[in-house]
Subunit: 622 residues, 2 copies
Amino acid sequence: MIKIDFLPDKKNIKVNEGTTILEALERAGINIDTPCGGKGICGKCKVLFVEEISAASPIEKKLLSEGEIKKGFRLACQAKLFQDSIVEIPLEIKLDFKRVFSSNSKGDIHRTKNNFSIESNLKKVFLDLEEPSLDDQRSDWERIKDGLSSKKIENISNLKTSVEILKKIPVLMREANFKITVILYNNEIIDIENGETTTSNYGIAFDIGTTTVAGYLIDLESGEELFAVAKTNPQIIHGDDVISRIGFAQQSKGGLEKLQKEIVVTLNEIIRETTQKAEIDKSNIYETVIVGNTCMHHLFLGLNPINLAPSPYIPVIKEILSLKVKDIPGLSLNPTANIYMLPNISAFVGADILAGILSTSMWRQDKTVLFVDLGTNGEVVLGSKGELWACSTAAGPAFEGSRISSGMRAAEGAIDKVKIDNKSIIYKVIEDGKVRGICGSGLIDLIAELLKLGLINKSGKLIDREEGNFELSEEIKRRITKEKEGNRFLLAKSDETIIGKPIYLTQKDIREVQLAKAAVYAGIKILLKEVNILPEDIQEILLAGAFGNFIDKKSAVRIGLIPNLPLKKIESVGNAAGRGAEITLCSNKLRELSQEISKKVKYIELSSRPDFQEEFIKAMIF
Amino acid sequence: MIKIDFLPDKKNIKVNEGTTILEALERAGINIDTPCGGKGICGKCKVLFVEEISAASPIEKKLLSEGEIKKGFRLACQAKLFQDSIVEIPLEIKLDFKRVFSSNSKGDIHRTKNNFSIESNLKKVFLDLEEPSLDDQRSDWERIKDGLSSKKIENISNLKTSVEILKKIPVLMREANFKITVILYNNEIIDIENGETTTSNYGIAFDIGTTTVAGYLIDLESGEELFAVAKTNPQIIHGDDVISRIGFAQQSKGGLEKLQKEIVVTLNEIIRETTQKAEIDKSNIYETVIVGNTCMHHLFLGLNPINLAPSPYIPVIKEILSLKVKDIPGLSLNPTANIYMLPNISAFVGADILAGILSTSMWRQDKTVLFVDLGTNGEVVLGSKGELWACSTAAGPAFEGSRISSGMRAAEGAIDKVKIDNKSIIYKVIEDGKVRGICGSGLIDLIAELLKLGLINKSGKLIDREEGNFELSEEIKRRITKEKEGNRFLLAKSDETIIGKPIYLTQKDIREVQLAKAAVYAGIKILLKEVNILPEDIQEILLAGAFGNFIDKKSAVRIGLIPNLPLKKIESVGNAAGRGAEITLCSNKLRELSQEISKKVKYIELSSRPDFQEEFIKAMIF
């Protein structure tokens, strides 16, 4: 065994010789960003050997510069440890989100409250039962049943329960002196509790994203959101996107079980944190709604996602699913509590998008509404006169900072807003302080500003310094420099950044954004074609997802990511998926409706559309 | 650790010092009869130290004779081991049944076939599905659903399944080239199989008795019994009767889990043996019906039986229960297969009795029928004009050989029939060979014969030799000898027995039988009173249970165990409970009816009847 010290955390761990740094980090509980899933492709997981540098592998030699190798930089996924070492993890690859996910604030909840009423099939009934005697030898079960009957509870002739509850009954009933609270779900007893507990009635909604898992603890009596918590999806160490996760499930022994366990552990942490903060007993959580993309849906259930990825993209199940906590190994809630998995629309348009449709009410609006959710994929839904169309565009993870030279997620140190006037650049950094990189919204702002100044032309070329607008100050022009791979634009100087190196926008970065925005826009065009309307016929655009929250609408229009509508008709709807999960948690009617609505959505498979390629090329133009 | 050798098995085992012989035997897998459950009360678990005799404890000194102690006899439950020893286990206390349980032969099945038709909610449907493509992106689940729809299967709009099956679907469907067999139970898919398997459709019925567990493997297509196997209930080491089991569940740490596990292990053995013999795959067993007394019902489910035993005798649940194999930890059947627990009638009249009522059709007969099941308890059911009454009598285990000086179960070496004429005694021994003891049917025969000869008088006294009938031969008279505790009758001489000791019927034995038969008869009288009829109004008596199979009807009438009816009106119905389980396995209609019938049975609690004591005393007279 050898000992590895990690800086700046000052954590250390003992591992076997030959362990990779990535494996060691995982075991030490330090999460880093590995966009390619540790396959030695992206070269993002750079770490610095402070003591005892290991030899660079051919892959490292290819992906790192000579200078980096000399300084002691290695790739965490490649470098193996053979002796005691000290390794520093650069801040920009560490995963510790602070701001990615906003809770649905009280304001939001009140807004959604108008859209639905709390309606649950769950009832808590207090029973003060008679004690048994030789003249009254009813079984415990009959006693409870008759008690419910006397409270005029309907539908109990065919009352059901589970073995778990039957096991609980004889002892608990007597401990409680025959004063118990029965938790009824339809005609099933899902729990019994000692004494009168009818007012403690909670639910928890989860939005399981590829990157982030969010949980919302809800008081089912009032519909109020008590606490919300977001966590990084720990599966991220197996890769940034669903394709890497599917690959991991397929190729690693026990991979599927591991991926399921990783989600479950995260949900358990969220359950613990939210219930502790709200000071409630998690045994009083009886209902759970879960949304997520189709891959996360499958992984949470332990369903093999193998057929989601290669054409023709087939999910195991899309329909709404109702199950019990005990069906999910390790999930630390009441084993008889209900879990509802909202329906998926297709292999790449998941229940999270359906939840977005539900929370924005676009399914029942007459007007023409375009819903765009930008994450690792770009899902687009078009609603018109009560009809719905959807597609998934392979936007790629550029907007999440991947494949961008200084890209990062919208976390501490990321530039998330950029303004350039004639003379100077103004940018905003998340959590203020020094710069670590640029996130999606900053990138769109920057490109939009450079387009406005004419420094990027219609074809996406970052022009040469001397070609630039005559009125432009030298201060700005001088930021353009020539490189082998094309021009690049200096966004932040060395002294403005944490790592002490300047941050650039490269020609390649612009190409990545062009590809991404073209994919989204071409998807939108195909949907418009299906409905036989033009972009200008759209009456409202809803931008969803964490990214949609922070994006500058004007910039998004300027780079051609979304159709050119008056800005007041473009709205950020924030975490629509999470809110959709919350409202379906509170309303069984909406839950039932969700199945109907999901069936109504006409899914358009872009890969089978010969006209998609044409639209895609057209949309490349800025 | 010390080493113990067991004779005659020649098994040895290493145990810690201070281990009792009973514990060592249990670990060595040798089962012995411990009627009191190893509490040092009954003195039945006599074993012989061949080498290194341990000191006799006060309890052993009380329960064993001085001669026995000198020879090296000790009680397995009391004697602790402190050095390497050799211990011989006398044959008469070893448990290895050969004959206790008869299978329901083909003849029986054909007879019952007339009473019901095979009717199942279970369907096997073969589907030859189309492969998915970009033009047909239905999920695996939709594909199956549509396949069923095209076969005109009803009720699938709300088709359900479990996570287990969803996990299986994506891989199996493709391995099977989309040719699968779906197992449907109502509107639920409980399994899918590769290829066409529609004709493999099996069920297994279990009768879990306090002493014996029987299993019947049934072809659900033909209704034929393929194989039947009976095993000793391994819980027997914790005591002969349900009261000891309840005590064990209550007092031992993890006792309830242990008792459940013991039943499950036995069912697994039966499943293995029957499926191997029938050469079928146990994954093709989709339905299970379980009957048993209420205590066994609770223990199988892992329900705490603690309230069954002290007054007012309250079961957790009496109603029919439908569950899944996966609800029972360790049960080795298809986890999604159905288990039906037939309903109980009361704490001491279980689903086994209800199964008896079903298999004898007495629930739908107009005539007055008395059903008597004699085991550890004596359960009595009276049917008259479609109405049913039931009670449980504390007959005690005398008829199973317990508390009888030379009593034993109806196993190899037991005298099970006795005839005495003027001059000689003729008896029959199970499996022939030498005598080990006397079982219930032999005991009843013997007492009936002695009553006939006037050697036992009306009050139950075994008279003195000289008081005997003048015509009786000296050969018979001489068998009566005087002892401190009263007279005794010599049944088998030393040279006729395996243990080389004579076998007697003692005055105390007669008292035990008197108490038992009085309890049963008084129960019968109370039921007759409820219906307001006389014993002579009974039109038919059905004797059920293993014991009912072997009892001599004439003897049973003579000792006053059952009312004095013409013999042709008394019928042995054998293992009515097992047959009831079989027919409810084959017929869902009968299963549904079972709930109704159990509700119709009016249970009479004898302990709350002031007139019971009076009837009991009257019934003591022979």
